[in-house]
Symmetry: C2
DNA sequence: CTACAATATATGAATATTCATATCCATGTC
DNA sequence: GACATGGATATGAATATTCATATATTGTAG
């Protein structure tokens, strides 16, 4: 059974979406925003990250419509664009929990792996 | 409130997980495997992709414990490692569904996919 | 208008991913 | 053994991401 062109484009689109989540800082930002709206400055401070870095990563999330920004005077507040994001992150959390059960060594191994 | 080191490592771990999903071919493979186990050859044929490419991308999914492989004689069968993967992919599908309002070909494809 | 504060974007070097080609490994068959 | 089949891995060129630095933009205060 032949696959249509549209199918290919859809999977590419989904991949783009997951790619937007595939970054430690962006995950941390999202886990903040899932709890509540925040300004860029608040995010910066919560994460201890530099301003341009935070703005850059927010731009990535914005580009994929995962968060939305609203200007309030001189500051900009960010919020998750779709409540389903919460469902997705908690499905992810459940997977991590299953995977990490009993395996302390896994985190250690990951850390070691990244060091190279 | 200070963030613990483990927290940072956990977010990195989650990012690694999403990174594994962030590829069109890997998404397509997963959507096959969510339905049923398959051998490498079956995946190759279903996707019309070359053998080394499929093996390479399967290796990525294996490395992140998203799929598991079992040898059966001369062939290897792959399956999703955790049933929660299904939940995650459908949360993702719901998000795409919300987002894609207005882009026509993708909506058509989503509808077709949901019917299965 | 000047100056400052909050945020965004441009640039580019360092780094990581992707995918094609070639090669290897394991198992089964003759 | 020789050979075929199903899979995995090594290599490297092309491409994409990341993050720091520098520079813009926009809104507000004085």
């Amino acid at each position: 059974m032949a696959r249509s062109d549209d199918d290919g484009r859809l999977q590419a689109f989904k991949a783009e979406f997951f790619k937007a989540l595939a970054h430690p800082l962006r995950i941390r930002i999202l886990e903040l925003l899932v709890v509540d709206d925040r300004s860029v400055l608040e995010i910066q401070r919560a994460l201890g990250a530099e301003q341009p870095i935070v703005s850059q990563q927010l731009a990535v999330l914005r580009a994929k419509h995962i968060v939305r920004a609203t200007k309030e005077g001189t500051t900009v507040r960010y919020a998750v664009a779709d409540p389903e994001i919460r469902a997705l992150l908690s499905a992810a959390r459940r997977i991590f929990n299953n995977q990490l059960v009993g395996t302390r060594s896994m985190l250690r191994e990951l850390a070691r792996e990244r060091r190279r």
